[in-house]
């Protein structure tokens, strides 16, 4: 039997009326990768946030190697041997890579009140090199690196001091294949050193592959802890949702012809550093999947079509001849766009659910040129409920919602506007299977009602399961095209991607 490392005893936390974590007790062992899974809003991130000092707990105690710990913030948690890699950006712009790695730990490089910047840079570079990230310059301002590289820097920041417990909170969704491989390497190393990794992910295959044991949370309550060995994805789904879920929540239709009617045509799109030369046609009532490795340029396609790219060349034209050059024209012509970067590009995070849903529909909501609160509330409630958004009310701030519910708010906004062309970039990123199933069902409904959807995704199974056609991109250009077919496999797509 492995030795107990961390014991969580009766941990409890409420946010208003929401019981986020409901008296959870859990044990974590040395040399273990312990996955925490559950639907969005099940309490996984809240539980680990209390462990790492991001939130304060209302009740309960954490014991690390038998000693009670009360981290006040992330750095305090680090000092006690607990670290976290968060879901969203955890590094700060304007600081150098080295300053980010040692933020809050500058005292190691300070003597007589003077910070020894050179020593800090040297140490940071040594660490980066030891992880194999030699291409990252410790003295460079972190803004010069992209989202994925910044995540790699965060991995170094969170693990270089060999924490006893490392929380990896939904980090893999931000990483491409290469980045994931690096992260798993680090997790494995942590395990070999006799530490514990608490791994949060919605990718159940990935969870089964990487972890030794899995704890399932539902509505803040611990449902069960099971060993990975001998457990199937369906077993986990059942535990998460609390009822049997059919193994396949994707579309089951095959062989339906795609409409001849082209609703949007993009020709020779070029965006410096992102797109080399890319063209596509979107048909009425079609779900067009776009896939590839994370840096292949596919995420820029969504922006380019919506008129949100800078320095874009080429043309985007609608069936009626309207040229889409900017976002207002796109919205006016019934195009919707949900970005991969939900918090920064899709939602007004410090605003209410109501305002977020009503934002593009304000013109339609006016009565006698005046906006009425009652109308806005009714509108937001209608579409939030249609998307089964878990919320206290439409007055709740979106920042308090889980990732899946935030995405539902984004979708509710565009459904409310009744857009005809919907561009969804990573629509199910960081979202649990129940919400995923809801979103897929909604997409299928929209398709059937004649809406056209462009779904950009890094998840191959999602592309195969939902798309009428799939475009695979590589290095900013089209690499291959596939039609929906039962015979089409993930290997076919991967072959084109790499």
């Amino acid at each position: 039997m492995a030795e107990l490392l961390l014991h969580a005893e009766d941990i409890d936390k409420k946010f208003g009326i929401t019981h986020a974590v409901n008296h959870v007790s859990l044990d974590f062992y040395k040399g273990e990768i312990h996955a925490l899974i559950g639907e969005n809003g099940s309490g996984k991130s809240t539980f680990t946030s209390m462990l790492t000092g991001i939130y304060t707990k209302e009740h309960g105690r954490f014991f690390l190697e038998g000693e009670e710990i009360h981290p006040q913030n992330q750095v305090d948690a680090n000092r006690k041997g607990v670290a976290i890699i968060v879901q969203e950006v955890g590094t700060l712009s304007g600081l150098t890579v080295a300053e980010n790695i040692f933020l809050g730990k500058e005292d190691d490089f300070i003597s007589h009140g003077i910070k020894h910047t050179n020593a800090m840079n040297r140490k940071a570079q040594e660490l980066l090199n030891s992880y194999g990230f030699n291409h990252i310059d410790a003295t460079a301002v972190i803004d010069t690196y992209n989202f994925e590289e910044r995540k790699l820097i965060e991995i170094v920041k969170s693990t270089h001091f060999n924490p006893k417990v490392l929380v990896v909170d939904e980090t893999t969704t931000a990483l491409g294949h290469e980045g994931r491989r690096e992260l798993f390497k680090v997790m494995k190393k942590m395990k070999e050193l006799g530490n514990c990794v608490i791994f949060i992910s919605h990718d159940l295959e990935e969870v089964l592959e990487q972890s030794d044991s899995i704890s399932v949370l539902r509505d803040g309550v611990l449902i069960d802890t099971v060993p990975s060995e001998g457990t199937t994805v369906d077993d986990l789904r059942k535990l998460m949702v609390g009822r049997e879920m059919s193994g396949n929540f994707y579309r089951t239709d095959y062989g339906e012809p795609i409409s001849e009617e082209v609703v949007l045509r993009a020709e020779h799109l070029k965006v410096p550093g992102e797109l080399r030369d890319f063209s596509l046609e979107l048909h009425k009532g079609e779900i067009l999947g776009i896939g590839g490795l994370s840096e292949c340029g596919m995420h820029e396609v969504g922006k380019a079509l919506f008129g949100a790219s800078y320095d874009r060349e080429g043309s985007v034209t609608l069936a009626n001849g309207t040229i889409i050059k900017d976002i207002p024209t796109a919205i006016k012509n019934s195009i919707a766009y949900a970005s991969k970067d939900r918090d920064n590009e899709s939602l007004v995070i410090n605003d209410t659910i109501r305002d977020n849903i009503c934002l593009p529909s304000l013109e339609n909501l006016k009565r006698n040129r005046i906006l009425h609160n009652r109308d806005m509330n009714a509108f937001a409630e209608k579409f939030a409920k249609e998307m089964s958004t878990k919320m206290e009310g439409v007055d709740q701030f979106t920042s308090a919602l889980s990732g899946g519910n935030k995405q539902k708010v984004v979708l509710a906004r565009w459904i409310g506007l009744d857009s005809d062309i919907i561009i969804l970039d990573s629509p199910t990123r960081g979202i649990d299977i129940k919400v995923k199933a809801d979103i897929y069902a909604r997409m299928d409904e929209m398709r059937k009602s004649g809406k056209s959807i462009i779904m950009i995704s890094e998840e191959i199974m999602e592309l195969l399961g939902m798309s009428d056609r799939i475009l695979i991109m590589k290095d900013g250009a089209l690499q291959g095209e596939f039609l929906r077919s039962e015979e089409l496999t993930d290997e076919d797509l991967i072959e084109q991607m790499v």
Partner: protein
């Protein structure tokens, strides 16, 4: 070194600053060859620029985090009055120590009130400016405070340089070699993340106001020594003293990506001094001077900042 690397290097920033300085000097020299830009006149322009740059250094700590301090002018007025009084009793020691203490104290009060009330820094510091101005009137009995001719060494070269460069050195040192420098940038980028990393945001913000007050105190030494007298202000008349240091701070913020904000603040003030004096040399009315100076400042900061496309600017 490729072109992109070169454009991002610290030397590129310094080169731009140097070229701009020469350019502004040359433009006014060509337009007013007799009345602008001789060696002795340039020394005078630089002398005033050095004074304002000290306040610019202080404001930098606050502005880089996000808030503003509009009480720097009132601080300078009151600290100058205090400096004159202290010099009568303690000589140079009083002239140096008293304004630094009073300036720092005002900074501390600003910081504490700002953090306690949790309202906009603009409102807090404008409100407190009225208080500082009133105290200045009481302290000077409503009269003009004149610095004795025995204690005016800091009003001219070389002692003004000693004081000014000591202040710049302290500012650059704090930014580069103390935790406060890193934390100021971290808070300016994302206060919540900084807090989660263990940064004591409250303490840092108060410290930023304290530092701003400290530098305003140093600026007061040179201000009173150079101007030799100070009249107490009322009804926010001191507000105009905020803007020249603030312009230097804008240069610092625009050039911080090159890693030398203090150099940018000092050179920025020199450029602004060239402009003010250039217009005077040309005999331009004050309104025209203000319009052109304002536009030139906006142009310089816009061209040098080169914001990332799509980045949110507040």
């Amino acid at each position: 070194m490729n072109v992109k690397k070169l454009r991002e290097s610290q030397w590129f920033g310094i080169l731009i600053l140097a070229l701009m300085t020469v350019l502004f000097w040359a433009v006014f020299k060509i337009m007013a060859p007799e009345t602008f830009g001789s060696y002795t006149k340039v020394l005078t322009y630089i002398k005033t620029a050095f004074i304002y740059a000290i306040g610019g250094c202080g404001l930098y700590f606050i502005c880089v985090m996000g808030p503003f301090d509009m009480s720097v002018g009132a601080n300078i007025v009151l600290s100058s009055v205090i400096a004159v009084t202290a010099s009568k009793y303690f000589g140079y020691a009083g002239l140096i120590i008293a304004p630094i203490i009073s300036g720092t104290l005002m900074g501390l009060i600003n910081g504490l009130v700002y953090m306690k009330l949790q309202i906009s820094s603009l409102i807090v510091t404008v409100g407190l400016s009225l208080v500082y101005e009133a105290i200045g009137i009481f302290a000077a009995n409503g009269k003009e405070s004149v610095l004795s001719t025995d204690y005016r060494a800091f009003g001219d070269y070389p002692w003004n340089i000693v004081v000014a460069f000591s202040a710049y050195f302290i500012c650059a040192f704090i930014l580069k070699y103390t935790k406060m420098g890193t934390y100021a940038y971290a808070i300016g980028t994302n206060e919540v993340v900084a807090q989660n990393m263990g940064v004591n945001v409250r303490k840092c913000k108060i410290l930023a106001f304290v530092l701003c007050g400290f530098f305003a105190g140093i600026q007061s030494i040179l201000t009173i020594s150079y101007g030799t007298s100070m009249t107490s202000a009322s009804n926010l008349a001191s507000m105009s003293r905020n803007f020249t240091p603030l312009m230097g701070t804008f240069f610092g913020l625009a050039f911080k990506k090159y890693g030398h904000p203090v150099i940018a603040i000092v050179v920025g003030e020199i450029i602004i001094s060239f402009m003010f004096n250039g217009f005077v040399a040309l005999g331009a009315p004050t309104t025209v001077q203000n319009i052109i100076t304002g536009l030139a400042l906006l142009t310089i900061v816009t061209l040098t900042t080169k914001p990332i496309k799509g980045a949110v600017v507040k």
